[in-house]
Symmetry: C2
Subunit: 428 residues, 2 copies
């Protein structure tokens, strides 16, 4: 039996999950892999706060040096949010020669290059399974399980808050505000949910997955990001009409000319497995050259699912495996040079909702403009006009260059065929 | 860049997939993790056969010593079927100090104890990601990704041949024989499909997953195994009537009194994610203490998906990670003592189809017998009687002790209430 001393920085929700698992199931690791995980030190801003789960004999301090100066501690669990103090604390651990396990996706997505280089310099590793999709072991699956595959595409639901809100809106006809409030009440959404609902959190996670899958640096600016705040009940209902559900979808797709990266509300057809990933669940669909289609679903957030991923990383580090990983995989050290596809050159199926006057020639006008720009209609739906004589034409197109579809919609809107600005969404 | 020499034993379907990936994508491993995988030697029964993919400069021999006597080769890919010659070849590699990567599930399930002990004695590892669910990295997910979880249950579709046959029967109303012939034509089923359709292959895979999840020896005799050969078009149609699909389901569930292990045709409700795993796909649903519900789906067989898993293991071995895994995880060395639940004490929801004479009192008789044995009805369906006056009563029960339900059915059949022997299936 090998005893391994662990330090923990940050005793919030996920830190509480780590303490809970280690206090309840410390024997599990001993039984499984003859490792005794000994949480010796916790650094927290608020050492005096009363907690649900006792940290046993762990020292509790508000001073990072309680960890960095302790030669007994080989691995530090870093559960601090944000990218400023969190970065300094992580760097301090690396400089002290400690391996770090973190759940901070923003830090890895934004400062990964710098931090991985610092880790290499100090001959330690930064493990981050918990940064993407919580309890789903997607980082390892992508990096190790699919190492023999060229990745063609990743399509993923990576934010449980947004998925919960969209599920409530779709399945129970809730409004956006009510669904958000319920997500907050259940602890799925932060008090300030901006980074969830505006797509930033999903973009961070996609950037991390893409870095691994495509083996290169992913500047966040290359991930086109749109949130769910603008979605209306009408959008949700329209998706249903077209046999689909709206999901905040992260997509990375390798094209001949480069990599497409985007986060956007997207119509997912009901027969696609990601359409069945509802409520606060996450799901990642991968298309690869040898394994073919692979799908992983599970809980992407919450104290215990995230702590599950954190402790998987801890075992990876203390068993000596992670050092081999961090040394070998080139995405930690820059990797290949990647090209990126501009938004207008993105190729995607689309959904458009045209609000028009219900009179002869309008449908022909819309259809002609679509055809002129190369938009091939997969399905079309026009409902009865409202009392004011306004009709809605809904169209799903086959995949085409997004810039062409945008040009078609702009031309239609400018021509006076539509009464309001046309809604244009992507479809998977 | 580290060059790593690999030997391959067995150049059949999966061996061909390994050769194909290494000839087409050798550069991928170099790009990703600075490892140059050099397939130097292939041992095959039939060195002269013309192959679709060239093995480049590899030596081709029919003599195992071409690999075992070559000090340059550190890892051997073992793709030989069966449990006799295959075992000797695997053992010879271990004794020669070579790490082995195998896709042979029968060998691991039946002779795992002996082979793992031999490997430990020679300080090498046996990696077997490819033995279960092909391209889905389920072994690593269960062993490493979920290491911080107590596993409550695994429910899985692990045989693509059976799943393909059942999908054809259900979705296209094919008969069993026609569906099996089509599976053979497409290369999903062997010329002799017995081990697939009788559930043995699934039982081997379940035993391997359970060994990891529950950290102990799984004697195959403890896995109750029933195949799909006896299923009729009536069974398939009945499942549909009850809002379910029949799948050959492998289930391992931890109960207070021990472990339930079974492979059996099972009604899977349509709203369960495993119901959407169709055709030749595999799927594994895991319920665990911290990560919660996790689902992995993908291609469980075929040359390239299986080769994807084989090469993931090869990278794991040559990067030095697998040695740490094989040394640390106790399931390789026996693990914990496990208790098993007898079939009659298994707790499961059930489906029963009673064929009865359409006359007063029969339904009451059936319902009374069910109630007497503690079977609580979840749903019941009785169709119109046929011209001969025979009616069918279909019942789904809440979970109960299987022995109690069997006793209820036996009592009903013996009482003369039924015209034919009652069909009893499990329901998820």
């Amino acid at each position: 039996m090998q005893r391994k001393a662990i330090g923990l920085i940050g005793w919030g929700t996920v830190g509480g999950g780590v303490v809970e698992i280690l206090s309840r199931d410390r024997g599990l690791f001993a039984e499984r892999c003859a490792i005794d995980l000994d949480l010796t030190t916790i650094v927290t801003r608020d050492p005096g706060r009363v907690r649900e789960h006792s940290a046993g004999s762990a020292r509790i301090s508000n001073d990072i040096s309680a960890i960095t100066n302790d030669p007994d501690i080989g691995v530090v669990v870093h559960l601090v949010g944000g990218t400023t103090e969190a970065k300094d604390l992580l760097a301090a651990c690396l400089k002290a020669g400690k391996h770090v396990v973190t759940a901070n996706k923003a830090l890895i997505a934004v400062h990964g290059d710098e931090l991985f280089a610092l880790a290499a310099q100090h001959r330690v590793g930064i493990a981050f399974e918990a940064a993407v999709a919580g309890g789903i072991p997607i980082i390892a699956a992508l990096r190790d399980g699919l190492v023999a595959n060229r990745i063609h595409a990743i399509s993923a639901i990576l934010n449980g808050t947004c998925n919960f809100i969209l599920t409530k809106m779709e399945q129970e006809n809730w409004g956006y505000d009510a669904a958000l409030a319920e997500a907050q009440r259940l602890g799925y959404a932060e008090a300030d949910p901006t980074l969830d609902v505006d797509g930033t959190d999903t973009a961070h996670k996609l950037a991390i997955l893409a870095r691994i899958a495509f083996n290169g640096r992913i500047p966040l600016a290359k991930v086109r990001t749109q949130g769910i705040q603008q979605l209306t009940a009408q959008d949700i209902a329209s998706a249903r009409t077209m046999g689909a559900r709206i999901k905040l979808l992260a997509v990375a797709r390798q094209r001949e000319s480069g990599l497409e990266l985007r986060v956007a509300p997207t119509l997912v057809p009901l027969d696609h497995p990601l359409a069945a990933v509802n409520k606060n669940a996450n799901g990642i669909a991968i298309e690869s050259s040898s394994a073919g289609p692979t799908l992983l679903t599970g809980l992407g957030a919450g104290a215990l699912p995230t702590a599950s991923a954190v402790l998987a990383d801890v075992i990876d580090v203390v068993s000596g495996r992670y050092q081999a990983t961090a040394g070998a995989f080139r995405f930690f050290h820059g990797g290949s040079d990647l090209a990126f596809v501009a938004e207008i050159d993105e190729v995607t199926a689309t959904y458009a909702r045209f609000v028009v006057a219900d009179k002869p020639g309008v449908l022909a006008g819309v259809a002609t403009a679509l055809s002129k720009h190369g938009a091939n209609v997969l399905s079309i739906h026009q409902g009865q006009a409202d009392p004011a004589g306004r009709a809605t034409i809904e169209v799903v197109t086959h995949p085409l260059r997004l810039g062409s579809m945008q040009a078609a919609v702009n031309e239609i809107d400018r021509s006076g065929l539509t009464i309001t600005t046309t809604t244009l969404l992507r479809r998977l």
